[in-house]
Symmetry: C2
């Protein structure tokens, strides 16, 4: 176990709100070099007691819904009201060079220069641990730096919405006034993650907005268990005019008003992530002992219906551990 | 890898349609005794080329929806028309003694005695591999025995609906005419698994049935990606009067009419199950090397916010493999 540590050099400036220290700390946590990983974990251990004091909001939406504009408009309103707002992003398609369009300061130019805001593009995918892990750690570092609002945006790639919902207190789904058609563009499972649906660009067409709100509310009603402690809400807003943004924040605050519920949710999320990391480590340990060609052959055999999955796994495990007592699985 | 085998004794009678052979084969596959596991896998390997020629239908529904009556009514209609119908069940709460109420012949007395039908209660939970694995293998054995319709029912316990949807070609959700209220009793994620929703007990209240169909159709429209190859349908039926059952089967047949799509879905399901089994085996391999008390301490530390999940996993892995090069995760 990790014992008492000397204060890590970045910890103090980070906690005092120094932006460069925060940026450097996040870069350190994103690095896949082993020596950086160790330093990053030490820093996180050092600042961990000072995390948790924020509202974490995840946001996703259909392409073209105006996510960046919405986040900027909401972020500016909160920063102007004295909040310290951090904007992070989860984009598994992000490349090491060229970066991601999410969390890109050029798409939120006003917010990028607001003294109360900190914007960070998505970490690139590929290295160990994944985008989700680095974003969780970046959120902790932002909290330790005093940010009381963490906005994490994502697009519909892979499992990113599920991952962002699993690291936030409130998950927001942005849609357009053509709710029916637009939502059909969203992957299965996203509506059920939403704590709040916001019909954006409400300024365009009031009647379409009303219809969209009504359809969404009916669908959410069907999808939400009677026993749920929070009933998802549907609002309309316009990032362009600012209409509805105060109501959006009011609903977010209502969603996190029950401190015990939020803590329980966070604890469950952290525990679940621990189990996922443990299983991922277990898989890596086995995968490193499997012959890649043999694994490919077995997979092909299973896909061709020549052997059952159970037989395939048995064969692979016997190759790895020939004196393993037959059975199990 | 498993080489050529002599024909397993049960294989021939099973393939010729002998019910006792089928029942014995399934009992063998459900056993957790190591010598039985080996025999069961040999039998499956022997008959595997003769599987796949059926329509696999999963069924779930809210408590009180009349699942057993519906399955019996549908099963009788199909058996009377010359189909060979097998009824299986996935009930993770099933106990070794006392069994499960699912797939219970006493709840489908007419179907139980129909020469064209075979009913099997859910295997009990607890032993290695789980209920889902045994049900998958039972379905394969039923197909090898000549059953061309496999009905697999489940209740809303744990992940059973997800598991049954992952082993069937068509997933049916049964509801009552109070769709809105009733569906709120269903767990998140179930509506999105459904290929077909059937409002049962339609004979009770025609107006309520129409409303339920309308609500369900609207919700499914919102939830189904525009690109989906199958648009979920909503029907009404009455197990009591028999109304709508022919339409239900017609929609099931329409859903499996695209042979290439069905094959692709089955291949994806089999491949996915292989990956799940592999990861489960990997986890078992690591878990057996972890000190249970240490694991409990680390879990508690993570839940208390004293260390991050990444740190917890690192600590556990170091204890298992102290000379592992630091890094990763």
């Amino acid at each position: 176990m990790i014992g008492p540590m000397p204060a890590y050099p970045l910890a103090a400036p980070l906690r005092s709100g120094n932006r460069r220290a925060l940026a450097r700390a996040i870069t350190l946590a994103e690095s896949s070099r082993p020596e950086h990983l160790l330093e990053a974990q030490r820093l996180l251990a050092e600042v961990l007691p000072h995390t948790g004091r924020s509202v974490r909001v995840g946001l996703t939406g259909v392409p073209g819904v105006g996510k960046s504009s919405f986040i900027e408009a909401l972020g500016l309103r909160l920063a102007d009201a004295g909040h310290r707002v951090a904007v992070l992003a989860v984009d598994p398609s992000s490349q090491r060079t060229g970066g991601s369009i999410l969390g890109d300061k050029t798409r939120m130019p006003k917010l990028a220069v607001h003294p109360g805001a900190f914007i960070r593009p998505s970490p690139s995918s590929g290295a160990l641990g994944g985008v989700a892990r680095r974003t969780r750690e970046a959120a902790l570092l932002c909290e330790a730096a005093g940010h009381d609002v963490i906005l994490i945006e994502t697009v519909g790639v892979g499992q990113s919405e599920t991952q962002v919902a699993a690291m936030t207190d409130v998950f927001v789904l942005l849609t357009l006034p053509n709710a029916g058609d637009e939502l059909q563009g969203i992957k299965r499972g996203i509506m059920e993650l939403a704590d709040l649906c916001v019909v954006n660009k409400a300024d365009l067409d009031a009647a379409a907005t009303r219809r969209a709100k009504s359809e969404l509310a009916a669908a959410l009603h069907l999808l939400t268990p009677r026993s749920a402690s929070w009933q998802p809400r549907v609002l309309a807003a316009s990032a362009l005019t600012g209409a509805g943004l105060d109501e959006v924040w009011a609903v977010v605050q209502a969603c996190v008003a029950d401190g015990a519920r939020v803590q329980a949710r966070r604890q469950a999320q952290t525990g679940q992530w621990f189990e996922e990391l443990l299983r991922e480590a277990a898989w890596q340990a086995l995968a490193s002992r499997l012959d890649a060609a043999e694994l490919g052959r077995v997979r092909a055999g299973v896909n061709a219906g020549e052997l059952t999955p159970v037989q395939g796994v048995s064969a692979l495990l016997e190759a790895v551990n020939p004196d393993r007592r037959r059975g199990g699985g």
